[in-house]
Symmetry: C2
Subunit: 292 residues, 2 copies
């Protein structure tokens, strides 16, 4: 009954008998609990967040719905194992273009064990996290019915330069990404996907306004997932562009301080997206914070 999600772009995958997340037919995503404190920490976060009455609804919508934990047969056939039961974020979308962006120039919290800090610091310096304030963890871009989906190797996108990230953010919303490899992306979906009163930029600005104020959580090593449907955009329909936050194994309490590390990376991402060419006036101002 459970199957391997086809639109997962980062993290461990449940292929070839390995351990990874599964989905069902009703819109649930089963994420195996990591055996160490990461698993329990993520359960603690989802439990705290889902019952936290100080989270406004317009922010809660950026997080996957949480349906508790459940024992299910794990993808590596090692028997019944505890899984987080979450919303399958791409349920109902056919062939979505997806980008997974790990936010923050620092992926570790000061409370972490020294060995873990050293490991993260090394990776943050080797990838684009330190220079750009975020790194791509994975992506897939829908090309055409015939050419299919382009899914670059994870390793190849983590350490991109600013210019290469700009190019990928343009390709992500272009209709001419297949075929000639060195063709200039046309950015024909930029206005409809990134822009507008409910597009990805407006959503990121709404999230930013909350991060300027909230001191409840620090989201280390957490990702923003950006998704939309190219085929809808091509047909002039609403492409269902959406952002969601995922991966909360390293979330800690904020202790009265805003998450300046996440916020800085988020502002950097916003600036990158702003630089993708779009029709005049389609991008909201930095001060605008309410999505319609």
């Amino acid at each position: 009954m459970l199957k391997i999600p086809k639109d997962q772009v980062a993290g461990h995958r449940a292929v070839d008998g390995k351990l990874g997340p599964l989905i069902d037919d009703s819109g649930c995503f089963y994420k195996p609990l990591q055996g160490d404190e990461r698993g329990s920490n993520e359960v603690v976060f989802y439990t705290s967040f889902s019952s936290n009455t100080r989270i406004p609804d317009h922010i809660r919508k950026f997080f996957p719905k949480f349906h508790g934990t459940r024992l299910v047969e794990s993808s590596d056939a090692s028997g019944l194992k505890p899984h987080l039961v979450l919303q399958d974020l791409n349920f109902g979308r056919s062939n979505p273009s997806v980008m997974d962006i790990k936010i923050g120039s620092r992926t570790w919290g000061p409370q972490a064990p020294e060995r873990y800090i050293q490991k993260c610091m090394k990776k943050d310096r080797e990838t684009s996290s330190i220079p750009l304030g975020f790194r791509l963890s994975g992506l897939q871009i829908y090309e055409t019915k015939t050419s299919g989906m382009w899914k670059p190797w994870k390793k190849s996108v983590q350490a991109l330069s600013a210019d290469d990230v700009k190019l990928l953010l343009r390709k992500f919303v272009s209709s001419n990404t297949s075929g000639v490899l060195d063709s200039e992306p046309d950015c024909s979906f930029a206005s409809i996907v990134y822009g507008g009163s409910s597009g990805i930029l407006a959503q990121l600005l709404e999230l930013k306004a909350w991060f300027e104020d909230q001191t409840m959580y620090c989201f280390y090593s957490c990702s923003i997932l950006m998704m939309f449907e190219s085929e809808l955009a091509s047909n002039g329909k609403n492409p269902r562009a959406e952002i969601k936050l995922i991966d909360f194994a390293h979330v800690f309490e904020g202790e009265g301080v805003i998450d300046h590390n996440f916020l800085g990376g988020l502002c950097s991402l916003i600036k990158f997206i702003r630089e993708v060419p779009a029709e005049k006036h389609s991008y909201p101002e930095n001060g605008a914070t309410q999505c319609s």
Copy 2:
């Protein structure tokens, strides 16, 4: 003719025959060039910035005026040495309260030598830079004509907790900071110093709006200086509250990316100041960016 500035709260001081900055009677501040690349880097920055036509006037006002370099007799009597000639930021103020805040959770740029990075990283982790996104480098708070100026040891303010920083930001704008040590700060100057359309918060928000957009410079290890005159505030007069950026020995080119490290720390500082109690509606909204 040159003398030791009395309102310097951080950095090397020109006392007891040591090398440090000097001032004259006409409003100039003479900062000795550090002998290594820090000195030349700061000259490069001031030269680039002062001739950069892309800096709007409402941002340029947050930087000290630059009058070139000059050979002057150094304070350690080692002869004529090259000095940066800058605006004396406290010229004309008697008894200003001053706070020097080093912005950013990371004080090093990826281009720096490995040994320097390791040294900075250690200090960032030992102080409040990593948890808060900034650290206090020094401060002085005017108490009363009789009790004088309170100037805590530099070492004692660099590693403060969030709660202690909040307390200092309250004391900074209180009229009852002297005398009984455990008295609750009255924050009676909060509205007039932090608040209002031209107060410190409005200025910080103006700076923030620029940092959300500018990709010309990365300001590692740079400080924001906050200054005002308590005596004026006590007499119901405009306390001349002002912020300035200082210390540009570690500024690098932005290379197409915003300075997410500085911006994150700046947003954290803004949130801390917002939490200082003030009269209703005296603080500007986060979206407001124009000082009157």
